[in-house]
């Protein structure tokens, strides 16, 4: 904690003076400025895209904002967007849940039992260094071209991120907290619940933030390889037909979904890790 915060905590209270309001007003102005500039950059990019399309660069390569917008509009109207997006999201969500559940449980187990961790360490490192995407064809053989294989790809990717983060989180737990909690009368289960899991939580949440986009990537890659629905399927099919407007429309949808999920996770993070202070 910084010295100023310590001072504030010790003092407590404080008064809302004119200078407090001035500082707050400056902060609000800054935020508005950032927002305006962000929007300006977005508009400039679209304008540049529009200007370059067909003039500097072949429309076949970069399509155009109008064509992409129109395609998204049609997809929304005829239900293509929602049908495919829901399948991609479903596979991502299942993969994420399975990967998290298994990764978290095994991370706790390995973190608590050193022998287990030492025995399996070289194998885990070996499997970890495989690009998980390379497993996608195998999963398609195992689970078919339906949703199951996409769930498997994203679960495999999420699993490792969560497993390794949970494992480190558990190993980093301050033994002082464990001992003190035990002396106060806490059993193994209480120590797990009140000390180890909360202490590992910040690691796990960092892992979650990294792994959600990966889960989405896993699903889409599964869909690229072989499927009959999903955003990845839309993109790969459009690529085959040199329909760049659809390719860009698909990519934009994925980018938006990724951004929304990330914003949600950030909300969860601030809530769960409130105790860390500012």
């Amino acid at each position: 904690m910084s010295g100023a915060a310590e001072e504030l905590a010790a003092l407590g209270g404080g008064v809302r003076t004119a200078s407090v309001r001035a500082v707050e007003a400056a902060e609000v102005r800054r935020r508005i400025l950032v927002l305006i500039l962000r929007i300006a950059v977005g508009i400039a990019f679209i304008w540049l895209w529009h200007h370059a399309s067909g003039r500097w660069i072949d429309t076949l390569l970069i399509s155009s904002p109008q064509a992409v917008g129109l395609r998204l509009w049609h997809w929304t109207l005829d239900g293509t967007l929602w049908t495919n997006l829901s399948i991609t999201l479903e596979a991502t969500a299942f993969g994420f849940i399975i990967g998290c559940g298994v990764g978290f449980s095994l991370g706790l187990l390995f973190g608590r039992f050193r022998l287990l961790a030492e025995v399996f360490d070289p194998y885990i490192t070996a499997i970890y260094s495989i690009p998980k995407i390379a497993l996608a064809p195998l999963f398609i053989i195992w689970f078919g071209i339906g949703i199951e294989s996409k769930v498997a790809v994203s679960a495999a990717i999420v699993f490792f991120v969560i497993f390794l983060n949970t494992f480190s989180g558990v190993r980093e737990v301050d033994p002082l907290y464990v001992n003190t909690t035990k002396i106060m009368g806490g059993g193994e289960l209480s120590v797990l619940r009140h000390v180890i899991i909360p202490s590992a939580a910040s690691w796990v949440i960092t892992g979650l933030k990294v792994s959600v986009p990966y889960a989405l990537v896993g699903t889409v890659i599964g869909e690229f390889m072989s499927s009959n629905s999903g955003i990845g399927y839309l993109i790969s099919q459009a690529t085959g037909l040199f329909n760049t407007a659809s390719v860009y429309a698909g990519i934009i949808v994925l980018a938006l979904v990724g951004a929304i999920i990330n914003a949600g996770l950030r909300q969860i993070e601030t809530r769960v890790l409130r105790w860390r202070g500012s």
Binding site: A9, I183, G185, V195
Partner: protein, 261 residues
């Protein structure tokens, strides 16, 4: 001995590391009476904290036996309260939740717990901070949270390892006063590890001086000061000065040995 006394019988501690065996504590014999306030002083590395951690059951003894409540300490000792220099209040729990945690472990019902926690926080002057997280408090306030927690479930034996070491001089005196008042009221058995001789003399009934490594008991000094002493003024009494001088004479050569080595 069925009470809160502690009997340390022929206790040694050896550490094995980097291909060497080091004797940290050498055959310690000490009896701490129930309700007694004993301070351990000694040069750094003399094993005074090690001995305390063995009473708490965090470290196993290499040789000998420690009896607490007439039972041999074997594994974590859940009949003591434990407080160290480093904060052990859980940063992800609010002040209230921290103080309530041991009560929960001891099966106190929620409603009773709430009232009890509130009264404990009042005792340490932290009313109104129940919903704060430790990161929002100053170091001295966190110490008071730890104290409230310790008092809340009322162990009859307190093990304290330089609990006020990180505090500034004035705050330290205030905490000492608080602790002494609580001890006068409840008469727990207290083992208090410190490197501050003045603190030891101010608080304890008896001060145990340890020699440098390997730790042995070099001297035991009973402190002949009134139990209701005033921590701010006790240092000006002749008895304080006499005890301080005798303790320093026992301790100084040990510290010099450490310096020379």
């Amino acid at each position: 001995m069925d009470d809160a006394g502690i009997a340390i019988r022929g206790v040694s501690k050896t550490y094995v590391g980097r291909g060497r065996e080091v004797l940290a504590l050498d055959r310690i014999d000490l009896t701490i009476e129930p309700g007694e306030f004993v301070a351990f002083v000694g040069p750094s590395g003399c094993g005074k904290s090690t001995l305390m951690n063995m009473i708490a059951g965090i470290l196993p003894v290499s040789e000998g036996i420690i009896l607490h409540h007439g039972r041999a300490v074997n594994g974590i000792n859940r009949d003591v309260g434990y407080m160290t220099q480093r904060d052990a209040v859980l940063p992800w729990r609010t002040v209230e939740q921290n103080v309530a945690l041991p009560l929960r472990f001891h099966g106190m019902p929620a409603r009773q717990r709430r009232d009890h926690v509130a009264s404990m926080l009042e005792q340490v002057g932290l009313s109104g901070f129940g919903h704060a997280y430790p990161a929002e408090l100053s170091g001295g306030m966190r110490k008071r949270v730890a104290l409230a927690q310790l008092l809340a479930y009322g162990p009859d034996t307190l093990l304290m390892d330089e609990p006020f070491g990180a505090l500034d001089a004035q705050l330290k005196l205030l905490m000492q006063e608080r602790l002494l008042r609580i001890w006068l009221e409840r008469r727990q058995t207290v083992v208090f590890v410190t490197h501050d001789l003045a603190e030891a003399v101010t608080l304890a009934n008896r001060v145990v001086v340890f020699s440098g490594r390997p730790g042995r008991i070099k001297a035991i000094e009973p402190i002949d000061l009134p139990p209701g002493r005033d921590v701010f003024r006790v240092r000006f009494l002749p008895a304080f000065e006499a005890a301080y001088t005798r303790l320093w004479d026992a301790l100084a050569p040990e510290i010099r040995k450490g310096e020379a080595a």
